[in-house]
Symmetry: C2
Subunit: 228 residues, 2 copies
Amino acid sequence: MPARSLLGPMISSGKVIKLFYDISSPYSWLAFEVLCRYKNIWNVELKLKPAYLAGVMYGSGNQPPVLNPSKLLYMTSDLTLLSQYFGVPMYRPSKLIKKDSVIPMRFVTAVAEKEKDGDDLVEKVSRELWKRMWSTHQDIVQPASLTEVGIKAGFSANEVDDILILAKSQQIKDRLTSITNEALKYKCFGLPFIVVQVDGKAGVFFGSDRFELMAYFLGEKWFGPHPT
Amino acid sequence: MPARSLLGPMISSGKVIKLFYDISSPYSWLAFEVLCRYKNIWNVELKLKPAYLAGVMYGSGNQPPVLNPSKLLYMTSDLTLLSQYFGVPMYRPSKLIKKDSVIPMRFVTAVAEKEKDGDDLVEKVSRELWKRMWSTHQDIVQPASLTEVGIKAGFSANEVDDILILAKSQQIKDRLTSITNEALKYKCFGLPFIVVQVDGKAGVFFGSDRFELMAYFLGEKWFGPHPT
């Protein structure tokens, strides 16, 4: 696209990272924040892919790690240390209570549907939901809670009302299912699941512990979780 | 211990890393090589703890990841990339055939029993077994195979014969069970499982993807998988 390449900022590096995530997954939050920090450093197009964790687990025949008492215990200490090291403000991640995330994830999906250009609002809404779930331990399913999330992310009250209605539509239910199925096509078995496309090859990375390896795959550098 | 501290090399930093591993676990090999590279850099006492993976999985109620087709597929690409990046010569890790490791792990345990001071020989024998299993895809259960491993690690033919006899004894069976149980007491649910003790606190790290976090926990630096 020579015409586009003259425009400078529109030049595409061709490097794409798709982040499949669910706000009920604390490891997804870590991956989300790190990739938001690195997208410009690595010059990649970051595509946020809000998906449905329960659908991924069911579709891949995998069991949630929290069902195993030893894994649950491990996750508690692991997330406590990771949240400190990554600078992602989780508070008492030991409260790994299983909550169905279909309502907040449909809300995020409706935001994605409304947002035609880029995903700044999807980013903001997702972060607010993670904060409520993992920092302040507030509700994430009631309309009043989602309204608060939407307003914090920069929507007007009227816009949030529209999003809440849209979130209940068949169109949005189908869109969330479709993105979840897209993840499953990559043989995803949990979230976060990260697909990296570079130089005509694609690599898949599960979890929030493969950033150094991802940098190697991209031919880029890893400077730790605080690059700037 | 002031008398000891005058001896220089005997000064202990008080930092201990226990690595619970099984040679049937390719991720254990990665962790083993990285910790062998870092033990002097981080000034830690590395204690090799040959354990029995099947016992860990059974004791923790966890399922081997290779039983899930999506996870198995992921491990193949993950291990291929990790082995390149870590410089650990795995060849076709896609051949993740389930092999019971009780015979080679009893052999390693017998070497540990014979080796009174340190674990240089345990290190060498373990590495040879990993090479056979993951690089050259050679047998690891027949006496002739284990003899070859022992000789490559520096034992005489007679010494290896003694070790082969010892490996079948109740004493060694019990010792392997005991180390496996020690891992389970730390709520281990898979291998490698790494216990880091520093400044009166202990941290546990599962897998071969927590070295950067481990360095943070230790107050040390992570220089990537090739520190020198």
